[in-house]
């Protein structure tokens, strides 16, 4: 009766070999489609030209990446827009990092990306031309997103997202059609990818 335990043993071992290959056949990563947000209006404060005083203050526009919608300040918002300034929700531990690269090619959060949140003295997404997400072109008087700048955000739910801002002007017009005098500004058009399971694949 030695053959039967041997056969059984082989059969069981083979069974293991043929069934337990979770390493070779992982759950496939769902390729996420980018969500496009168009013309998110975030007007800046009205400032008197000659004195520099704010004559009419405007509110920040609070946006949740998870819900893909504008929300109010006391809800779970991730980013707040006003003029060219973008804040992150530091009270809910939202952090952001600005990296260089091609949006489609950033499939994973880079190891050297330093995430920061807004503090009393600094913004996670830096303000000022050239430092954050945009360039102010003094020759054409236009604000244009810096090509190759991608903003990585860890949302209120702890999920990772990559964002690329496409335009600061209403209707996302091509650069040579922007008239700084007449085209309405502070209308954000951007696309983002949100990985809903908390992993770093984007």
């Amino acid at each position: 009766m030695k053959t039967i335990p041997k056969l059984l043993f082989t059969a069981v071992i083979s069974g293991f070999l043929f069934s337990c290959d979770s390493n070779d056949d992982p759950t496939p990563i769902v390729q996420l489609e980018a969500t496009l947000v168009e013309d998110l209006a975030a007007p800046n404060d009205v400032i008197d030209r000659t004195t520099g005083e704010v004559t009419e203050e405007r509110p920040f526009q609070f946006f949740s990446l998870e819900q893909n919608a504008l929300v109010s300040e006391n809800e779970d918002w991730d980013l707040a827009f006003k003029g060219t300034t973008i804040r992150v929700n530091n009270s809910k531990n939202v952090s952001a990092a600005v990296v260089n690269g091609i949006f489609e090619e950033i499939t994973e959060v880079p190891a050297n990306a330093t995430f920061a949140t807004d503090t009393e003295t600094s913004f996670a997404i830096p303000t000022g031309s050239g430092s954050g997400w945009y360039n102010y072109n003094p020759a054409t008087f236009t604000v244009t997103p810096i090509p190759g700048r991608v903003i990585l955000v860890q949302t209120t739910a702890g999920n990772y997202s990559k964002i690329e801002i496409l335009s600061y002007y209403k209707g996302n017009p091509p650069a040579d059609q922007i008239n700084p005098m007449t085209t309405p500004s502070a209308h954000y058009t951007f696309r983002y990818v949100l990985r809903p399971d908390g992993t770093t694949n984007l």
Binding site: I47, T50, G128, N137, T144, G148, A175
Partner: protein, 765 residues
């Protein structure tokens, strides 16, 4: 051919009033050019005797007997005659040298030398070349020259070897002109009717002139009067209701001469965008008055006085308030310029020459912008600058082939303006040394060094060496290496500016530390980006340049000049943020940040086809690059968005260099004198290759086809004639094809002009 003593020419020019001869005597000969005009100041030398000068009528006293007679004049082919030939002819006709190699240039070495002997790239525009451009302002003359561009940026600024007008020194009769707006010297401030010659010197000349002579020097020489009594009245009219009357008066005596020049220019301006409020060029009026007096005080002493006043006013309309709430604004601008330059020359003997120059300049601009409806002031800007310089130059002829020049100077500059605090004053001193040496018949070397000591930005040493080797009578090779620098200007040192509407601040380097401290006290600062103790240390922009080329006189009738150059510029000053403010905006100051290279080749050729027909062509190739941008591109840090809004990396092949510079440019000119009518025709085609005008894809560098403006050709034609009674007529036009260039707003389209000049006191009958 006998060597010209370097100071001798100066001596001749200084002593001319004393060599005027009397009436035509028996045995006198007359020296004429091909057109039958006398050649004043030609020289006649018989064998080893001292040369005789020819008077202003072309007449010369009969020399004593000899074997060979040599008749020589600058700009003309030398003639050698035997004594018999000399006796036989009453008139000696000299032929003009083709090309401009014999023109005398002063600015290159601050002594007089001819172009063909200079080991650095020099171009001279004489009265004919100036006249044929039909230009009424200086910018219109210079834009037709190879390798020069006029860019419109706060005024008509010159670009030379790819460098902006901030880096080109403009001289008027050897003295610097002041008054720059954002670095640009507006060439439209210089009237043309009294310009005799323009010397254009390329390559860093800080070894003689100090700051601003980094790309080169343009010396505008105004007409001198040799004591002749004259009253010339000229009137020119041009498209856009432009008028230019001018008056030139001259008088003199045996030991002195005086010259008064008055010029008025007014235009309605032009508009390239009639649908928007405000013209592209506003209407303006400008008046220039200039007085020059030269006198011989004592046998070895000469005194010259130069005084010039310029006043310009312009007005215009602007719109503000955006589409929702438009408001009309009225602009009134005024600019004033006064120059006073006395010069004293002392020539104790053949070997020494002392020149003492005092120079004072006042420049002011005033700009008043008001709401049209209420008259309320919208913006008021005032700027006043005063510059004074005293300089002593000593020229010592060590040997016939060595000339040493020493210069010592001191200058004071004050500036007062709406955007600067208080009255600011700079003091500086300098000295320079130059050695001109002809070690052999074939070689000449010019070496120079200048040291500048400035109260605000420290000290600088600028050396330069140039050498020329004459490979043969017809071919010479030259090369020069030199350092140049440009001092930080008032803006970069003193600006105290707050754009209230946008909320950002700009501080000049010397005010930055104080400015940030003040903002901190007010609680406006969110984060400091730069260690405040390092602020304020702004250095001069510096360059090293190499120029080399050759001059080839291919034949009696053909000339070729080639010059290759490379400028390596460092420490270019730009703004950068120094602190982040609570509002999210920044405070900026100026730093030495950029490095730029410009390099290229310039070619000029001329060919005399027939006695009355000559052709010339020029071509310039220019390559420019910002070294920091090149580094970033090579590190893969620069991206662009294409038309499908996809992002990709920018490669080095994409990069086009600096904005507003054409890679290729050139010109082709035909000069023809019609023999039947006596009319001189000048037809020129000026080509400007495509150039980058603005960033279109968000990365602020020139890297895409959509960011270039098309190249274009300006076809210009001038016809002129001097009647037998001396009255001069001219007519013509520029941009005859009416090419529109929206990216180059100083081009109004086709412009036609007419002019007349009447020498009232010297009409010939």
């Amino acid at each position: 051919m006998f060597r010209i003593n370097l100071i001798k020419i100066t001596a001749i020019f200084l002593l001319i009033p004393q060599l005027v001869f009397g009436a035509f005597q028996e045995g006198e000969k007359i020296i004429l050019d091909e057109k039958g005009n006398p050649i004043p100041f030609a020289l006649v030398k018989v064998d080893g005797q001292k040369p005789l000068t020819v008077d202003e009528n072309g007449q010369v006293d009969s020399p004593s007997n000899g074997d060979r007679v040599v008749v020589f004049a600058l700009g003309y082919e030398t003639q050698q005659l035997t004594w018999e030939e000399w006796l036989a002819s009453e008139k000696i006709i000299l032929h003009e040298k083709s090309g401009n190699l014999q023109e005398v240039v002063v600015a290159a070495t601050r002594t007089e030398r001819s172009v063909e002997d200079l080991p650095m790239p020099v171009t001279v525009l004489n009265t004919e070349k100036i006249q044929e451009t039909g230009g009424m302002r200086l910018s219109e003359i210079l834009r037709e020259q190879t390798g020069l561009q006029i860019a419109s940026d706060h005024g008509a600024g010159l670009q030379m070897q790819g460098l902006d007008s901030d880096y080109i020194l403009i001289l008027l009769d050897g003295e610097p002109l002041i008054g720059r707006t954002a670095g640009t010297f507006d060439l439209d401030r210089i009237s043309v009717s009294n310009i005799e010659r323009i010397e254009i010197l390329r390559g860093p000349s800080s070894a003689l002139y100090g700051s601003e002579a980094m790309a080169g020097v343009v010396n505008i020489i105004t007409k001198n009067n040799s004591g002749q009594r004259k009253a010339d009245f000229a009137l020119r009219h041009r498209s856009f209701n432009s008028w230019n009357p001018s008056l030139e008066l001259g008088t003199g005596g045996e030991k002195w001469d005086a010259n008064v020049f008055l010029d008025h220019f007014q235009t309605d301006g032009f508009d390239l965008t009639p649908e928007t409020i405000g013209q592209t060029q506003n209407p303006y009026k400008a008046t220039t008055a200039q007085v020059k007096i030269n006198g011989n005080l004592a046998p070895k002493w000469d005194l010259s006085l130069f005084a010039r006043g310029y006043s310009e006013t312009s007005d215009g309309l602007m719109q503000t308030g955006g589409a929702a709430n438009p408001e009309l604004l009225e602009l009134d601008n005024a600019r004033r310029d006064i120059n006073l330059n006395p010069t004293l020359r002392f020539k104790p003997n053949e070997k020494w020459l002392f020149t003492l120059r005092g120079m004072s300049s006042w420049f002011s601009t005033n700009s008043n912008t008001r709401f049209q409806s209420s008259g309320e002031v919208f913006d008021l800007q005032d700027f006043q600058q005063f510059y004074h310089r005293t300089e002593l130059q000593t020229d010592y002829q060590i040997k016939p082939n060595q000339l040493l020049t020493l210069g010592l100077g001191q200058l004071i500059e004050t500036v007062e303006a709406t955007r600067y605090d208080d009255l600011n004053r700079f003091d500086a001193g300098y000295f320079f040394l130059q050695h001109q040496w002809d070690p052999g018949q074939r070689m000449n070397v010019v070496s120079g060094l200048r040291a500048d000591f400035h109260s605000q930005y420290g000290n600088r040493l600028s050396p330069k060496v140039s050498g020329q080797y004459k490979i043969s009578e017809k071919l010479s090779w030259q090369a020069s290496v030199g350092a140049g620098f440009k001092a930080p200007d008032f803006r970069q040192l003193l600006l105290n500016f707050n754009n209230a509407a946008s909320g950002y601040y700009v501080f000049g380097a010397t005010l930055a530390q104080e400015g940030i401290a003040r903002l901190q006290e007010q609680g406006l600062v969110a984060q400091i980006l730069f260690d405040p103790s390092t602020l304020g240390d702004l250095r001069a922009e510096t360059s090293w340049a190499f120029n080399t080329g050759f001059r080839w006189k291919a034949s009696e009738r053909a000339n070729l000049q080639v010059n290759a150059f490379r400028n390596a510029i460092d420490n270019l000053i730009e703004t950068a943020p120094i602190a982040q403010l609570n509002t999210g905006q920044n405070a900026f100051s100026y730093f030495n940040v950029r490095s730029v290279i410009t390099q290229g080749v310039e070619v000029d050729a001329s060919f005399q086809v027939l006695e009355n027909l000559s052709l010339s062509a020029g071509y310039a190739f220019l390559d420019t690059r910002d070294l920091d941008v090149v580094d970033r591109i090579e590190n893969g840090e620069v991206f662009k968005r294409n038309s499908q809004n996809q992002t990709r990396r920018v490669t080095l092949e994409d990069y086009g260099g600096l904005f507003n510079r054409s890679r290729h440019s050139g010109n082709f000119k035909i000069n023809y004198q019609e023999l039947n009518t006596g009319i001189d025709w000048a037809l020129r085609a000026i080509y400007r290759g495509k150039f980058g005008f603005a960033d279109r894809n968000g990365n602020l560098i020139l890297d895409d086809e959509s960011e270039y403006a098309d190249g274009w050709i300006s076809v210009n034609l001038t016809a002129s004639k001097t009647l037998s009674n001396g009255i001069f007529f001219e007519a013509g036009g520029t941009n005859l094809l009416n090419t529109a260039t929206p990216a180059q707003p100083n081009n109004p389209g086709r412009v036609l002009f007419l002019g007349v000049k009447i020498p009232v006191l010297n009409l010939k009958n």
